[in-house]
Subunit: 480 residues, 2 copies
C-alpha cells in the first residue's frame, strides 16, 4: 500500500468529518469578518489543480467562494505594476479565494522563456514575499499549495513534469521553455518565498482521495489559525530615532508679493499645461500627495495645479476616515484602487500617510501597524515608480500661530466656515505628537524615487507657486 493513498472507505469517513468541520469554520470566518483566506493552487497540471478546488464547491457555501484564474497580463495590466491586478481584485473578508495562475506565474514564465535573468527573477520573488507579508500582517491568510506527482523515474521526466506545472493549459502554447530554467525557477521560488506566515506546502497528488482530504485539512487548519490569531510573524524592524532637523530648517518667512505671484503662477501654469500634453506623458503618469496640518492650504495649492489639467484625465481624491468595510481590509487597498493609469494624474488630498500620522497619533492603529507601514508605503511607491509613475509628495508647513489665525478667519468667512470642525480644534492640541509623527515619516519615507518636499506655507502665494514649480521641474526632468 503506497504511503499517500486513501481507501474509498477511509476517504468517505474522513470526507464527512472534514465537510462538517470546514462548513463550521467557514461560518465562523464569516461571522468574525476575518480573512479572506487565499489558497494558491500550483503544481502539475495532471496533479488535479482544478479538481482540488471543485471539492470545496461541493462542501462549502458557494456564496463565499471565489475562484480566480489570471491569464498573462493584457492591455492596461501590462502597463501597471505587476501586483496591481491582484490588489484591486482582492476578495473581501469572510471569503475563501482560490487562485489558479497566481502572482507567481508570470515571473516564472518570463524567466523560463529567458525574458528576464536570474537577478530580475529574484527581485520579483522578493517583491512577492513582501506583498505576502503585508497581506498576512493585515489579516489575509495565505495557503500556498504545490500539488506534486511523486516521481519514481526522475531525470527527463521530472523536468517535463515541472515544465507542465508552470505552463498552464489555459495560457496556450507558450513556445519552448528551457528545462534547466524551470528547475531553477521553481527551486528559487520555493527558497525565496517560503516564509513562516506563507510557506509552500507540497501535497502528494497521485491519489485523488488523499489529495482532496489533505488539501481540505490544510485549509481548515489555516482558518483555525486565523480565527485564533496564532499566526507567527517576525518582530518589526526597530525604528531609528529621527532627528527633528528638517522641520526646524523650514523658513516660514518666505513669501511672494502679489505681482510676483501673478507672474510666476502664469509662467508655471503655462509650463505644466504643456508638459502634460507632451507625447511622452502618455506613457507616464503622475501621483501627487498633499499632506499638511489643518488649514495649511492644501486645497488651494491643489487647485492651482488642477487648473492646468484636463478634468477628463485627472482625479483629486480626498481621504476620509476609512468606512467599516474599509477597516476590515488592508489599508493600502483603497489607494491601490486609485493609482493613476498611463497618461493620467491622481492627486491625493491627504493619503495613505494617514496611517503614520493621524492613525498613529490618535491610536486608530497599533504601534506594530504604523511601524511596519513605512516599509510598506516605500514598497508601494517603488512599484508605481518602476512602471513610470512620477510620485511627488508635499508637506505644507505652517506655524501654530498661523493656524490659529486661519481657524479664526474661517469662522468668520461664509465661504469657509464649514471647513472648520470640532476635530480641527482637538487635533490642534496634539501638535507636538503630530510633529514627532511627521518627523518620523520624513525620515523613513523620503526616498529618491518618491521624495518629500517640505513647502513653507505661512504665505499661501509662496506655497502655491512653490508646489507648482516643483511639479514642473520634476515632470520636465522625467519627460526628457
Amino acid at each position: 500500500m503506497p504511503e499517500h493513498h486513501l481507501s474509498k472507505k477511509a476517504f468517505k469517513r474522513q470526507r464527512a468529518e472534514l465537510n462538517e468541520a470546514l462548513l463550521e469554520a467557514q461560518y465562523e470566518l464569516r461571522k468574525a469578518n476575518k480573512g479572506p483566506v487565499l489558497v494558491l493552487v500550483s503544481g502539475n497540471d495532471n496533479g488535479g489543480k482544478a479538481e482540488a478546488i471543485y471539492s470545496f464547491y461541493e462542501w462549502l457555501d458557494n456564496r463565499f467562494l471565489d475562484t480566480r484564474a489570471f491569464a498573462l497580463p493584457q492591455g492596461i495590466e501590462q502597463r501597471m505594476p505587476h501586483l496591481w491586478r491582484y490588489w484591486i481584485s482582492l476578495p473581501g473578508p469572510g471569503k475563501l479565494g482560490f487562485y489558479l495562475g497566481s502572482w507567481y506565474h508570470q515571473p516564472q514564465i518570463r524567466y523560463c522563456r529567458g525574458e528576464i535573468n536570474a537577478e530580475a527573477f529574484q527581485l520579483q520573488m522578493e517583491e512577492i514575499a513582501r506583498f505576502e507579508r503585508l497581506l498576512s500582517e493585515e489579516g489575509v491568510a495565505l495557503v500556498k499549495l504545490w500539488l506534486q506527482i511523486e516521481q519514481p523515474s526522475g531525470g527527463e521526466g521530472a523536468a517535463q513534469e515541472l515544465e507542465q506545472s508552470v505552463v498552464m493549459r489555459e495560457w496556450g502554447d507558450l513556445g519552448s521553455v528551457d528545462h534547466e530554467q524551470v528547475m531553477t525557477s521553481t527551486q528559487l521560488m520555493s527558497e525565496l518565498t517560503s516564509t513562516p506566515w506563507a510557506p509552500w506546502i507540497a501535497v502528494p497528488s497521485d491519489d485523488a482521495h488523499y489529495r482532496d482530504i489533505r488539501v481540505g485539512q490544510i485549509v481548515l487548519q489555516q482558518i483555525h489559525q486565523l480565527l485564533d490569531k496564532q499566526t507567527k510573524r517576525p518582530a518589526p524592524t526597530p525604528l531609528l530615532p529621527a532627528p527633528l532637523v528638517r522641520l526646524q530648517q523650514v523658513d516660514y518667512c518666505l513669501k511672494l508679493g502679489k505681482q510676483q505671484y501673478k507672474q510666476q503662477l502664469r509662467h508655471y501654469q503655462a509650463e505644466l499645461r504643456e508638459l502634460v500634453r507632451h507625447p511622452a506623458f502618455a506613457e507616464r503618469s503622475l501621483l501627487l500627495v498633499f499632506e499638511g496640518t489643518d488649514a495649511a492650504g492644501k486645497g488651494g495649492a491643489i487647485r492651482r495645479i488642477t487648473q492646468c489639467l484636463d478634468p477628463r484625465y485627472m482625479r483629486v481624491h480626498g481621504t476620509r476616515a476609512p468606512t467599516h468595510e474599509q477597516r476590515l481590509q488592508p489599508y493600502l487597498l483603497r489607494f491601490w484602487r486609485r493609482v493613476p493609469t498611463p497618461g493620467r494624474v491622481a492627486i491625493f488630498d491627504r493619503s495613505y500617510y494617514g496611517r503614520v500620522l493621524v492613525e498613529r497619533v490618535e491610536r486608530f492603529c497599533s504601534r506594530r501597524q504604523w511601524q511596519r507601514a513605512y516599509d510598506e508605503i516605500n514598497d508601494f511607491e517603488a512599484q508605481l515608480s518602476a512602471k513610470g509613475t512620477l510620485v511627488l509628495k508635499f508637506w505644507l508647513a505652517i506655524t501654530q500661530d498661523e493656524q490659529l489665525r486661519r481657524f479664526k478667519a474661517r469662522e468668520r468667512s461664509p465661504l469657509k466656515h464649514y471647513k472648520l470642525t470640532e476635530e480641527d480644534w482637538r487635533n490642534r492640541e496634539r501638535w507636538p505628537h503630530y510633529e514627532q509623527a511627521l518627523n518620523d515619516m520624513l525620515a523613513h519615507t523620503d526616498t529618491v524615487l518618491a521624495p518629500w518636499y517640505i513647502v513653507p506655507a505661512e504665505n499661501k502665494r509662496y506655497a502655491r507657486v512653490e508646489a507648482l514649480k516643483i511639479v514642473c521641474q520634476a515632470l520636465r526632468q522625467a519627460l526628457k
Copy 2:
C-alpha cells in the same frame, strides 16, 4: 448689445455670488449624502464644453468633482448592454459628475453613420429615457446641457455645426456623416428624452462669460431642487390586482425516488457540463436567479448546478441586506456590477427581487419604490437578454408545514444549525404578506425573455433535478 452677453464687470460680480452659493450647495449636498448630480455637457465643440466644466474646478472642492469622457465602446464594453459601463461607474452620493460623451453619443453616431435605422434609434432613446427616469427616482439628479452657438446664417452652416456637436474631437475621424441624419437625430433625441425630471436645456454659448454663469446657475438650481426634494415625477402606473392562480396550482406532491434521482441527476449534470463547453456559449452568458422562502432548498439546488460548472467562470452571489453605502445608491447598482460577461455564469442566491419581496413586506422601501421596481427590473433583464444573456428565474415553493419541519431539523443538525436565525422565525409569521408579494411579482415580471419557473420543492430531490432540467432545456434551446 446682444441678448446673451455679459460685460466683464457684471460677470465678475455674478461669478463671486455664484461661487459662494455653489460652494455652499456642494457642502450641503455632501452633508445630506444626496445625489450624485450628473451634468451631461453636449453641443457644439466650439461652444466650449470643456471650458464650461473647468469653471467648476475653479469654484468647487475638487475632491467631489468627477469628470468622465467615454470614448466609443471597446473590448468587453461592446459585448455588454449599452448602459452597463455607465451603471458600473456611477459616481457616489455627494458628488458632481460631468459627462462628456454620455450615453447619447454612441446611438447618435451610429444613427448618423447609417448603422442603425430611425426605429432602432428611437428604441434606444426610449431606453435612455427609462434609465434617466430610474436614476431620477433613485435620487440621482440629471442636468442635460446643450451648448448652442447662435447661428445668424443658417442653412449649410447649421448642419455642419450640428455635425460637430455629435462628433467629438477625441473620437477621432469617424468618416463622413449624413447632415440630414444629424438634424433628425438631434431633433428626435430632444423630443424623446426631454422629460420633466431630465429636460434638455439649451445654453446660448457665443459669449463665454454668459455661458459659464448660466451653466453655474442651472447646476445650482438643480442641487437646490434635489436638497428640497422638489423634483416632480409622474405617478406610478397603478398595479393590476394579480390573481393568486399560479401558486394555487403548485403540486406539492411531486417527488423523486432515490434511484430515479441519482440517475436523472447524473444525466442532466452531464448535459449541462457539455452545454457550457459548447463553443457558442463563449458568446452567451447565463444568469440564474434563485428565490424562495427560507429553507426552501435554494443552496442545495444551486450546488447541483455549480457542480457542473468551472469555478473560474462562475460566481454565486448571495444577496444580503444592503449596507449603508449601498442604501444611498440606486438599488440595481450592485446587481449591475455582478452581471455575467460573455462565457460566464452568475447565480444569484436571492437577488434584486428582494425589493418587491422582503423590502416591500418589511417596509424597507416605500410603496412607490416597490411599485415602480417591476418595470425597472423587466427593463434590466431585457437589456441583458438583448446582449445574449440567458436569464432564468426560479421560485422554490414549499408549504408552511414543510418549512416548520425543516426549521426544526436545522436546530438539531450540527451542519445546519447556524443557518437558522431569529429573523427566519419572524419572517414565517408574515407568510400571507409574502404570498401576496410573491404573487404580484410573478404577475408583473414573468416575461418571455426572462421567465419565472415555479418549482415545487417539498421534495428536495424533485426540486434539484427540476431546476437542473430547466436550465439544460433553456440552454440547449438558446445555443441552437
